[in-house]
Amino acid sequence: MREGQADPGLYDFRPYRDRAKIQWPGGKTVAVWVSPNIEFYELDPPANPHRKSWAKPHPDVVGYAHRDYGNRVGHYRLAEVMERHGFKGSVSLSVAMCQHCPEIIDQVNALGWEFFSHGVYNTRYSYGMDEAQERALIEDAIKTVQDATGQAIKGWLAPALTHTPRTLDLIAEYGLTYTCDLYHDDQPGPVHVANGKLISMPYSLEVNDHYGFSVYNMSPRKYADTLISQYDRLAAEGAQSGTVMCIPLHAYLIGQPHRIGPFEEVLRHIAADGRAWITRSGDIADHFMAHDYYAAGRDAARYMVEAR
């Protein structure tokens, strides 16, 4: 990024109505990926000078226990309904889960889920790290997931969405191909980095279950209706454009007994519709890199006189 400037220069301007079409495999119109955040929050984490971990003095019983519920209870419900309807997860992973809870990592690895990095713990933030520290974090994530699962991670979602100005350059340098931290589009697109190639992968805050339940205060059925509306629209528009829909989830929220039933109806709807390429984030990134990356650059070139 252009550190210290008003426009961080993350990507080029490229309006939605004037783009090369993305052709998803099998003639599908929308690439759908489900992203369970499998996280570990520490009971008594050290303080980061730029952000507080817990609202209350440690132990923050409800804050901590609610997250722990995700791993003890909610995760298994979510994994079961996803498997029942043919959805493989793309996991936003607190990589320390590989040490704390290998049972869950092994289970979903065997199901064919993909892992990408969401930091070591969701209570350790990148704010304030120097370059050596941030490299250590990225190297830790790559090695930990490789050792535990045999997978080379391709993507990054910053721990608790905490970044530094150099994060995107560094993950590209280490060979990662996508970031889930940018929310400017319903399609993937090139991201400017110092060296290598990096794309943005549409994740979502707006239809994230955290926003749905904790920010917008939706009922479980309202959240399910919201996801279906999001899907129906992106599937329809994708016939002209080729869209991506991400469903970002947290088992401590969606795995609650009053929510998982309505959510299962969303997966049933999408699986039955026929227009969805139900896939994983890494597969979307591979496809875009192979077929669409340079076309997106050519689209952007027509607007180079406008602000980038």
Partner: protein, 306 residues
């Protein structure tokens, strides 16, 4: 900019939890629990019965539902009292209509001020769980250990004196504990606490002084969360609880008895425009073959967690 190197060291990064309070264990990998009469879902209702002094304390923090305006806050003092005088009796009647026995988490101040309420609770077969002194009796780390020990003892002693039975259970205000609380509860003879929301069945919790049971009281299903924080309607609340019961009933067939905790607040659920829908919800649950209404102590005993 740089961070203290300790920020990138992880001394507790190892298998299991990052503490010794309880081991990690999936809900779906335990010996199945069998409820009495082969029931599938134990619906555990827990009412918080609380007294809010009109002079609020912020040490260590101000309790949810406490005074909000400049002194004197007649608005919140009396609206909370409404729950105790009126709403709670609507709830007792609603429980009686379906024959449900429930747990009531009671501030010791309620027993001191209104012993007749304690007698009504006991006479109708409900369980009393200790719930601190009054709504200024909050707990958090930083609280003096002697003061916390005294708070717990006074609550238990007062409720025992007025009700005739020493409470076996404890519920902290806002579920907030210090690192000392579980040990102090064990030392005070408490069998189980209802503060940690990380599970859907009782499980064993360890301290240096021995162990006790944690009976998880799901805060996401609380009337405060759904009706006040999320501002859903009572009809939506009833639908959500019905959906939860449906899901747990299916799960119970494969994994053993399940628990549905309903945390209720007299000044929230006991309002005239809500109580009818709540009564219809209870009637719906009561008609389900697999449903069992149970008190917290009955659930702890039936689950027989070793």
């Amino acid at each position: 900019m740089t961070l203290d190197p300790a920020y990138l060291t992880y001394p507790k990064r190892a298998k299991g939890m990052d503490h010794d309070l309880y081991p990690w264990r999936s809900l779906f990998d335990r010996p199945p629990v069998a409820w009495p009469d082969g029931k599938s879902v134990a619906t555990w209702m827990m009412v918080s019965l609380e007294w809010f002094p009109i002079l609020p304390s912020d040490t260590p923090f101000r309790a949810p539902g406490h005074m909000q305006t400049a002194y004197p806050d007649y608005r919140h003092y009396t609206a909370r009292d409404y729950g105790t005088r009126v709403g709670f009796y609507r709830l007792l009647d609603a429980f009686a209509k379906v024959g449900a026995k429930v747990s009531v988490a009671v501030n010791a101040a309620i027993a001191e001020r209104y012993p007749s309420i304690i007698h009504d609770i006991v006479a109708e077969g409900h369980e009393i769980i200790a719930h601190s002194s009054d709504m200024n009796g909050t707990i958090a780390s930083g609280m003096d250990e002697v003061a916390e020990r005294d708070l717990i003892a006074r609550s238990l002693d007062t409720l025992e004196k007025v009700s005739g039975t020493r409470p076996r259970g404890w519920h902290s205000i806002a579920r907030s504990q210090s690192f000392n609380t579980p040990r102090l509860l064990i030392e005070a003879g408490v069998d189980y606490m209802c503060d940690w929301v990380n599970d859907e069945l009782p499980y064993r919790f360890h301290t240096q002084a021995g162990s006790l049971i944690n009976l998880p009281l799901n805060h996401e299903l609380a009337d405060r969360q759904i009706l006040v924080t999320q501002q859903h309607s009572i009809d939506s609340y009833a639908q959500q609880i019905g959906d939860a019961h449906d899901w747990l009933t299916v799960e119970a067939a494969q994994f053993g008895g399940r628990m549905l905790p309903l945390h209720l607040t007299p000044y929230i659920m006991g309002l005239p425009y809500r109580i009818g829908a709540f009564e219809r919800l209870l009637a719906d649950l009561a008609m389900r073959n697999g449903n069992l209404f149970a008190r917290g102590d009955q659930i702890v005993d039936a689950a027989a967690i070793s």
